[in-house]
């Protein structure tokens, strides 16, 4: 049974606040999300080392060390709660037992932490979408899909509390369309291809989660909108294009919730606030304290509506202070103390305003992440029916928001960005309202990149 969201779970912008959701969620060892507190979500990865069977003992030793660091640092910093994310590297998904072994290892540390300190905590596990090993990707059958689903299953059995993914359906077309600034291709990739793959994949993930009583935690448009953000950050793409892609990407991520996911959404899913407004589910976000993994122009505003605050990923290397995961854990804990102090002293609106206003006038990408923009985009999405129409509506709303921002002198764009915004607006307006009218054109343009049967086309 599919959930179709026709209204907003949070219809009042004033309720769209960090640390609060209408649908609080309890997971793991008593971690209650969206119930009036923001918690750190710590993420980490290996230092430079081979990830092969012959080096497996050294890999396990790294995660053992990270587990010990988490226990020690949590005991020292005493966060009111903690989410740990274990994001599998590709070989850990290709060998499902590897991912499961490390899941079990990290669970042991969290269990010990909870036993020793009483700190509520949970483990999110994110297998890698390895279905894009072939070109064009074979998404609905084949060994990679089998291994991916086995990985979900085995990580669930090993004790993951939340399961997520950054799925890649549609990315093969989106990458090309993005590089060429082809907005029609972008909307097709997100609204037609990615959304169809999300339906296919998330029905399976939700079934595995239901079987093992694990929380289906949602997907991330990382491979789409964050690719755009990074290319814009390097000056290769207009920021306004990355902003519109960000908004348009929320619909393919929403499909996970239509299929039964209930959050918390992934940290790198900057489309999370729209998901939160529509579904009421808690969300993870990342921003300034994720600069260990990547830079962004949305460091503060990204925090405005979060329920978990993440560092995205940090290598287990040594810094002057100590291990990098501990250093970033400390940053997150201090960030969360501020969120929670604001909530406790009822100054959260003021703090949220500061987070938003300090960023949104400097970048269109930050502008579309404000609570006001979030509400507008979310409203545009639920007003429409069908993923293509919703994706198009979200993109158009983002373009309108940017134009209004410029007109009201809330946002400054240089002449090249302005030209691109005009071009994007024009091209979005010219797109058909029915996806059938574009599928044939897109198959002609991008048919060499994707397999139609991977999307049921």
């Amino acid at each position: 049974m599919r959930n179709i969201f026709k209204t907003l779970a949070i219809p009042d912008q004033r309720q769209l606040m960090f640390g609060r959701t209408p649908e609080p969620l309890t997971c793991g060892f008593g971690l209650k999300l969206g119930n009036g507190q923001v918690y750190p979500e710590l993420n980490f990865t290996l230092p430079t080392m081979p990830l092969v069977e012959t080096n497996w003992a050294a890999v396990v030793a790294q995660y053992e060390e990270i587990g010990t660091i988490i226990e020690r640092a949590a005991g020292r910093l005493k966060p009111p709660g903690l989410m740990v994310e274990f994001e599998l590297l590709p070989p850990m998904t290709e060998h499902p037992s590897w991912g499961a072994e490390l899941t079990s290892l990290l669970l042991r540390h969290l269990s010990q932490l909870h036993k020793d300190t009483g700190i509520p905590c949970a483990l999110r596990v994110t297998p890698t979408d390895i279905r894009d090993v072939t070109k064009p990707p074979e998404l609905r059958s084949g060994k990679p899909l089998e291994l991916l689903l086995q990985s979900f299953e085995q990580c669930a059995v090993a004790g993951a509390h939340v399961l997520s993914i950054e799925s890649v359906g549609g990315k093969e077309v989106h990458d090309e369309a993005l590089l060429y600034g082809d907005i029609e291709g972008v909307i097709f990739a997100l609204g037609v291809l990615a959304s169809r793959d999300m339906e296919f994949l998330w029905e399976k993930i939700v079934a595995i989660c239901s079987k093992h009583n694990v929380v289906p935690g949602g997907d991330s448009a990382c491979g789409f909108a964050n690719t755009a953000m990074q290319l814009a950050g390097q000056g290769m793409l207009p920021e306004v294009l990355a902003s519109v892609v960000r908004a348009a990407s929320c619909v393919r991520s929403l499909v996970a919730y239509e299929c039964g996911a209930f959050g918390p959404s992934k940290d790198c899913a900057y489309e999370g606030p729209v998901i939160k407004a529509i579904t009421g589910a808690p969300i993870a976000m990342e921003g300034k304290s994720a600069s260990c993994a990547h830079f962004s122009p949305v460091g503060n505003v990204a925090a405005a509506m979060c329920d978990l605050w993440s560092n995205e990923s940090v290598q287990n290397v040594r810094l002057l202070s100590g291990p990098a995961p501990e250093a970033y854990f400390e940053l997150l804990v201090y960030d969360c103390r501020l969120f929670n102090q604001a909530l406790e002293t009822k100054t959260e609106n003021m703090y949220q305003n500061l987070l938003v206003s300090s960023d949104i006038h400097l970048s269109p990408q930050a502008f579309v992440l404000s609570p006001e923009s979030t509400m507008r985009i979310a409203t545009a999405v639920v007003r429409e029916s069908g993923h293509y129409a919703q994706t198009l509506a979200a993109a158009k709303e983002a373009a309108s928001l940017l134009s209004e921002g410029v007109r009201h002198k809330e946002l400054q764009l240089n002449s090249r960005e302005t030209e691109w915004l005009e071009r994007i607006t024009r091209e979005l307006d010219a797109l058909p309202s029915d996806e059938q009218d574009m599928i044939i054109t897109m198959q002609e343009r991008y048919g060499h990149l994707f397999a139609a049967n991977s999307y049921g086309l």
Partner: protein, 213 residues
């Protein structure tokens, strides 16, 4: 020659149809295809590369110019072959074993092609022995290795080791690129250079191959 300057400018503006028409017109009027290539197309792409480096052009605009150049090359190629013209150099690129990222590699290929180099792209998740076989088959001047993960960047070394073992190391220069790699890492694994982005990759290749423009 005025027409060659026009060709360079049209290319910079991404005017594909006009670039194609003018290329054909120049060849038909007896201008040497090598001159059309060097003083028209490559000169135009050099300005494009410079503008991108200075933040004055975005990638979609660069790709439009690169596409126009690629189409014009189809017109020039048979003529260049008849003249026995030499390529500026052949570059073999690929993402190393275990790594599925290809946007960075593709951009490097496009920028190098725009600069007049011949590109052989052997894809992603490429085994070291496949690099060795491709070097033997295509005899490139430069091999470009790409990796985006801390756990796959070490396969750049494995690949270089395989090239050394096959006795091919002295035949090629090797450059590396990708988010986690650095010049220090390039030095450690025995590569000849590292490039932070696709535009700088063109400079690095020119430097290694001995071209100045």
């Amino acid at each position: 020659m005025r027409e060659l300057q026009d060709l360079a400018q049209l290319l910079e503006q991404g005017e594909s149809q006009k670039v194609l028409a003018l290329t054909q017109q120049l060849v038909d009027s007896g201008v040497s295809p090598q001159t059309v290539l060097n003083d028209g197309l490559i000169a135009g792409m050099a300005v494009v590369g410079e503008k991108m480096r200075n933040g004055e052009m975005y990638l979609p605009e660069v790709l439009q110019s690169a596409g126009a150049m690629k189409a014009s090359l189809k017109i020039l190629k048979p003529h260049l072959a008849r003249e026995g013209a030499k390529s500026r150099g052949k570059i073999l690129i690929g993402t190393v074993k275990g790594d599925m990222h290809d946007i960075g590699k593709n951009l490097v290929g496009i920028m190098l092609q725009g600069a007049g180099f011949e590109i052989v792209d052997i894809g992603l998740n490429v085994e070291p022995q496949k690099f060795v076989a491709a070097i033997t088959e295509h005899t490139p001047a430069i091999v470009g290795l790409s990796a985006m993960l801390t756990t796959t960047m070490l396969n750049m070394k494995t690949t270089i080791d395989a090239i050394v073992e096959a006795g091919l190391r002295s035949n090629v220069k090797i450059i590396i690129g990708g988010a986690p790699v650095s010049q220090k890492f390039a030095d450690e694994i025995g590569a000849d250079g590292n490039s932070r982005d696709a535009v700088l990759a063109v400079d690095k290749v020119r430097q290694l191959i001995g071209h100045t423009s």
